[in-house]
């Protein structure tokens, strides 16, 4: 084991050290721009990446925002839509100003086989997108599209968290939390996973094709902490809080499904057979998980529900995300099946047992599904199971690498989220007043009503 890596054997204890490192790096690191090969622009890949970007944005607005908005009570419907929309705008600006740079600049400081500061965070040299001209390439397509594609992930991740604290969080607190969380939790994990040779997860050989750690586990654990620290909704467990408009939720689910092709197949960064495979396994896992969830409900409650079907589909989408670059059709069937079962337990039993109020099951689906997917990626990448093969690892070693990435993400994002939420709670407060909660957040926070029909 290389020296730097020992640092992470007990990750919890080292978080402070890492934070210091990270901050140091951000403000000192020289940056040399993204290292490019001698690739030329390929219009086919470019076309696909333009579209994949549009598809991933489509996942958040309107996709996810509809999915979530249908699940709350009608007095809070606009708040949810507003959160997703405002996060989209906020994350865009942060990404342009400094986020992209911190995630993807200073790559020259990284080197395969070396763990250093640059394994954890990028630099400031591309702040305000310095150097991202129309001519700059990222592989076979323009770097500005790479900026955009990655931005859409930067947008959707905090939007996923909304599902946990829905129907009670202050809008101002939400905005501050999101901004800081993106900088302190998202960017480091994104860099560790996706900045290439020399980055932490890359060195470990972790497979995270489209964001199991970066997006889903990252958002999932933040969601869990957020719903615990914000506290339960008034009347939770006593009064029923059924979804106010399931047609909206099903519509959003359809959009998520379709948009996810951009997410997963787009993560190949090219229009080729691996992208096609990513699309195919995404479809299979999703279908399988939807049928699984429906089947469980049918057996347990005597009827399958449409909310069950769409939640299962999202579970399948989440779990296949890290695996979509490496598993085959059979692996996808298995991942879908397992994700369906585990997320069902996550959104029902787990939540009931621990008694937290994860309003829309952001942790139950994205956290649980993300972990399941990350670990199973290590299994179903195996050629013996129809996968595309793991480069140098045995299945055991690969699963262990995956496991480490899961733990790092849980701990890093967990600690950051906890500290941020506590700090915000002590200062401006996380939660609206009881009266506002009973009136509805739409009127209280935004002075509007969803429906005047």
């Amino acid at each position: 084991m290389r020296p730097m890596m020992r640092l992470f054997d007990k990750p919890a204890a080292r978080v402070c050290a890492m934070t210091t490192l990270v901050l140091f790096c951000v403000f000192s690191g020289p940056a040399y721009g993204q290292a490019e090969g001698a690739d030329a622009l390929n219009p086919g890949d470019t076309a696909w990446m333009l579209v994949a970007t549009a598809l991933v944005l489509f996942m958040t607005i309107p996709g996810l925002s509809l999915f979530y908005a249908g699940l709350v009570r009608s007095k809070n419907v606009l708040t949810v839509l507003m959160q997703c929309f405002a996060i989209t705008a906020l994350a865009t600006i942060i990404w342009v100003v400094i986020g992209y740079s911190l995630a993807f600049a200073n790559l020259d400081a990284q080197a395969a086989g070396t763990l250093n500061l640059a394994s954890f965070i990028g630099g400031a040299s591309k702040a305000f997108l310095r150097g991202v001209t129309p001519d700059a390439l990222s592989g076979t397509f323009p770097e500005n599209i790479f900026v955009m594609f990655q931005m859409t992930f930067f947008i959707i991740t905090p939007a996923l968290i909304c599902g946990a604290y829905a129907e009670r969080m202050k809008f101002s607190a939400m905005m501050i939390f999101t901004a800081l969380w993106l900088l302190l939790a998202y960017i480091p994990i994104c860099h560790m996973a996706w900045s290439g040779d020399g980055a932490l997860f890359a060195e470990w050989g972790v497979l995270d094709f489209a964001g199991g750690t970066v997006v889903h586990i990252n958002a999932g654990i933040a969601a869990l902490l957020a719903c615990i620290l914000v506290g339960k909704r008034d009347g939770y467990g006593k009064t029923p809080m059924p979804p106010h408009n399931l047609t909206m939720t099903v519509t959003g689910a359809g959009m998520l499904w379709v948009g996810w092709f951009g997410f997963n197949a787009g993560s190949e960064l090219a229009a080729d057979g691996v992208a096609g495979n990513a699309m195919l396994v995404t479809q299979i896992s999703t279908a399988m998980a939807a049928l699984t969830w429906m089947g469980i409900e049918w057996m347990k409650h005597g009827k399958p529900s449409v909310l069950g079907a769409v939640t299962g589909a999202v579970a399948g989408l989440v779990a296949i995300t890290p695996a979509s670059g490496s598993c085959g059709a059979m692996g996808a069937l298995a991942i879908g099946l397992i994700a369906g079962i585990m997320c069902f337990l996550g959104a029902t039993t787990l939540k009931r047992v621990f008694g937290y109020d994860d309003s829309l099951d952001a942790f139950g689906v994205h956290g649980v599904g993300g972990i399941v997917g990350a670990l199973l990626t290590g299994v179903f990448a195996s050629e013996s199971l129809g996968g595309l093969g793991m480069e140098h690892a045995t299945m055991g070693a690969q699963v262990f690498a995956q496991f480490k990435s899961v733990v790092v993400t849980l701990l890093w994002s967990g600690v950051v989220s906890f500290m941020l939420l506590k700090a915000i709670d002590w200062t401006i407060g996380l939660r609206v007043s009881r009266e506002a909660e009973s009136t509805g957040l739409d009127l209280d926070l935004h002075g509007e009503e969803g429906y005047i029909i």
Partner: protein
Amino acid sequence: MKKVEAIIKPFKLEEVKEGLAGVGVQGLTVSEVKGFGRQKGHKELYRGAEYVVEFLPKVKLEIVVTDDKLEEVVQAIVKAASTGRIGDGKIFISPVDDAVRIRTGETGDIVLS
């Protein structure tokens, strides 16, 4: 003048309206309400959480009638709205002092015809 308030099952509205037309009722007012009574509510299921909805959708009819028509109207409703199952609903009869037609300002029984 009497007011007849009938709370019935929603899918009976059309039949009741026809029944009332049959006894010469010229006007009525309908609203959607939720009823709570002996009829058991139904179970709903959201992400594995089952809960019972106790308030059931009902339709409320209000018909103001002249005293002489009262009996006939009540019978017509009972006939048309009854399915014989719990939850068929209730009819309440209460006194009305007077009625006014807004368009003309008329008052009294003539307003109801």
